[in-house]
Each structure stands twice: as structure tokens, then as C-alpha cells.
Symmetry: C2
DNA sequence: CTGTTACACATTACATACAATCTTCTGCTA
DNA sequence: TAGCAGAAGATTGTATGTAATGTGTAACAG
């Protein structure tokens, strides 16, 4: 038995590494909606051939983080108001499911992780560190998703979270972060109580509130 | 203004056509779980180069209809019992959302389409035509999804329906098709009544029942 | 000066070439 | 005969070549 179990799809390929780089640049706003994803340009910049770059860009397109037109290349996907509402409708549903499923799993381990995220979140708010706030927030949601132990949920929700983040980053990073923190605590409380229904409701409410805050003042 | 409005991503590319071919073969069981998706073999069979074939296979992998290992190629994804439960948990949630959203849209047009599907379904059952039953069933679900007018929901649910179909096709095609038909009618009734909550519940119940029937005798 | 057309350029989509890795078969050893 | 080493073959991953399509600019006509 090997010590370091590789995931089913190894991340050793150049195409996967390029994908990670591009996804990272989109999510940290090094690349913003509308920016071109020129295959030859990226290839020369990253000092490799066009094949893995093209493969990475295609994957972004399939996942919806980029949009392409025939013979005209791909651009970073924009998320307008209507899109955002659509994204959040699905996200709300799936994050509710994730919270509900998480209760059925190893609650003890999950609670530890969520508490750590909340502690980081609190510290980041105190330090007024927007990047840290965002990181703690994402860690919370990711922990919930992981704890659901449903790879299909993971696959469905992952790209949605990416698109949601693209949109959120267009506005202020952290609007009323204290409210998000309070909502996270409510989710945690429901999980600690072992109440799947309450966890689902709390998660759905949180997602709805995030959207409402984002829309509250363009 | 042009007459034939192309979708954003045109389907003219060879890679897209190959994707359609492969997806079709998987969903009609010309290719079954575990079958290798050999790029050079498919390329020679389809009489084109490996580039578009590779791109199509990669897309199937991203969408989860195929699984690959590094340097060992891709195979048609298998869906075991645990996977199936996971798929249906997500599918239930998303189809419920789709039904709920569909009520908000053009109900009149939707009702017409759903009625047509139900009529086809009824006729197919009378004729004991399993392929037609399956087609009518899929048309119903597809109409519901389309009527939700949420491209992100579409993108999330599409691959799930594919994986669900892979699994269902492993068993009998149509178990108690009359029950599925009755459940479809219940969903339609809720939509006609303009009751989003009832539509969501009916859709969720239907998905759960489909899974239960599939599992009821391996 | 404005609008159109033609041409040069860049990029995409596909084809092919090469290198690294895996599988499988063969033949040797114990 | 069973088991393993090793080479041959095939396939994947990456690089590069080529044809087709789209874009942008500049010259020219009105």
C-alpha cells in the first residue's frame, strides 16, 4: 500500500498545472471578465507549447469560467446581474444539500475545521484584512462541501462557486463581514446539534443573505 | 439580423461533433462503463486526427462521463451503488429547483410540451416500446429543465442526468413505467396549478421514486 | 472628410511529429 | 513449472507545423 495516495486524476500534467494557474488568476482578479485567454500568448509567457494551454482553456470553457466563440478564442466569463441570480439559486440549493449531508458524516472532525475557519474569520475581521476574510469564508464553505462526501455534489458546485466569486469580486470584497460570520456560526450550531434540516436552512439563508448584501448597493 | 442564430459555442468544430458522437454512444450503451476511449483508435475509426478526438474525450472526463488515469487513458465512467445514491441526491435537489423555477416562466408553453411528452409516454407504454418510453421520459425532464431558464442549472444538471442514465441503463430500462408516468402527471398538475412548492415536491418525489424502483431489485 | 474595400496579420482548429510512460509478451532463472 | 527481468509495442502527453477563419489597418473612392 502506497503512502501518498494520488487522486484519480493526477495533477502532474502540464495542462492541469496551467489550468490551476489560470483558474487562480481568474479568482484573484489577475484576469478579469472580458480578458482574452490567448493560447499563443499564454504559451510563450509560461514557456511551453500551445497544446497544454489550449487544453486548460478548453476546460475553463467547459466549466463555465470562460466563454468562447468559434475561431475567436476564449475570454474570462462575465457574470451579470441576471446570471448572478441564476448562479445563486443553484448555489443556494446545493449548499443547503451540502450542509444537510455534512451532518450525516463525521461531525466531530467537521466541527473542528469549521471552528478554525470561524476563528480565522474573526481574527481577519479584527485585523481588517480583506484577503484573509475571503480566505476564511471560502475555507468554511469548502469544509462544508468536503464533509458532504459527495463527489458529484462537489463537481456540480465547484464551478458555481468560481462563477459566484468572479461576480462577488466585482463589488466590494467583504460587505458586512460580521454578518457572514454570524451566519456561519448559525450553520455550525445546527451541525453541532446534529439537525440536518436546520443546517440546510441555515446554509440556504446564508447564501441568500450573501447575495442580498451584494445586491444591496451595486 | 441573421435567420439562423447560432448558439454561443458553435457546434461546427470537429471536436464538438466527436463529443456528440461519443456521448451518444455512451448514453445508448454502444459504449458501456469500463470501455476504453482510445484516442488513436477512435481517430482512425472516425477518419480524422487525434487532436479533436482528444479534446472530446477530455471534455467527457471534465463532465464526469469518463474517468482517466495519468498515462493510461480514459474509460467510460462506471456508476456503482454508492455513486448512484450520490448522483440522485444532487439530482433530486436540482430537479426540484427546476420544477419550482419552471412555474415562474411561461407555464402555458411548458404545459403543452409536457402534455405531449405524457401522451408519447402513454402510447409507448401501450406499445411496450422501451426505447420510446425512455425517450418520452427524457423529453419530460428536459422540458422541465429548459423551462427553468437557468443556464447554470442546466450546466450543473446535464452531466448528472448523463451519469444517472448510465446507471439506469445497467438495469432494466423501464421498471413500472406506469408509475413514472403517474408521477409525471402529478408534476404537471402542480405546474398547471401554478404551485411552485408543490411542483418542487412532486419533482423531488419522482426522482426519489425512480431511484427506489431502480434499487428495488438490483 | 467619411465610408468602403482589400490586404496583411494574428489566432484558431486541425494535423502530424516526437518523447515519456505504461502494458504486455518473451525468455531466462530457480 | 512458476516467477521475474527486460525488451518491444502501444498509448499518452507535449511540441510543432499547416490551413482556414477572423481582425484590424490603410489606401482609395465618393
Amino acid at each position: 500500500m502506497s503512502v501518498d495516495e494520488q487522486p484519480l486524476i493526477s495533477r502532474q500534467r502540464l495542462a492541469d498545472q496551467v489550468y490551476d494557474v489560470l483558474r487562480g488568476r481568474i479568482l484573484d482578479r489577475s484576469l478579469v471578465p472580458g480578458d482574452r485567454l490567448s493560447v499563443p500568448l499564454l504559451a510563450s509567457e509560461l514557456d511551453l507549447s500551445r497544446s497544454p494551454v489550449r487544453e486548460a482553456v478548453q476546460r475553463l470553457v467547459v466549466e463555465g469560467l470562460a466563454e468562447e466563440q468559434l475561431h475567436r478564442g476564449a475570454r474570462v466569463a462575465g457574470v451579470d446581474a441576471a446570471d448572478l441570480a441564476d448562479v445563486f439559486a443553484v448555489r443556494q440549493t446545493l449548499e443547503g444539500l451540502a450542509a444537510s449531508l455534512a451532518v450525516a458524516g463525521d461531525t466531530a472532525g467537521l466541527v473542528t475545521v469549521l471552528r478554525a475557519s470561524i476563528a480565522d474569520h474573526t481574527a481577519a475581521i479584527a485585523a481588517d484584512d480583506e484577503k484573509a476574510i475571503l480566505a476564511a469564508d471560502q475555507a468554511f464553505h469548502q469544509a462544508l462541501l468536503t464533509a458532504a462526501h459527495n463527489p458529484h455534489l462537489d463537481r456540480a458546485l465547484g464551478p458555481l462557486l468560481g462563477r459566484a466569486q468572479i461576480a462577488m469580486l466585482s463589488g466590494d470584497l467583504s460587505r458586512w463581514p460580521r454578518k457572514a460570520l454570524a451566519e456561519h456560526k448559525a450553520i455550525l450550531a445546527a451541525i453541532r446539534a446534529g439537525d440536518a434540516g436546520a443546517a440546510e436552512t441555515a446554509a440556504r439563508d446564508h447564501v441568500a443573505a450573501v447575495l442580498a448584501r451584494h445586491l444591496s448597493r451595486g
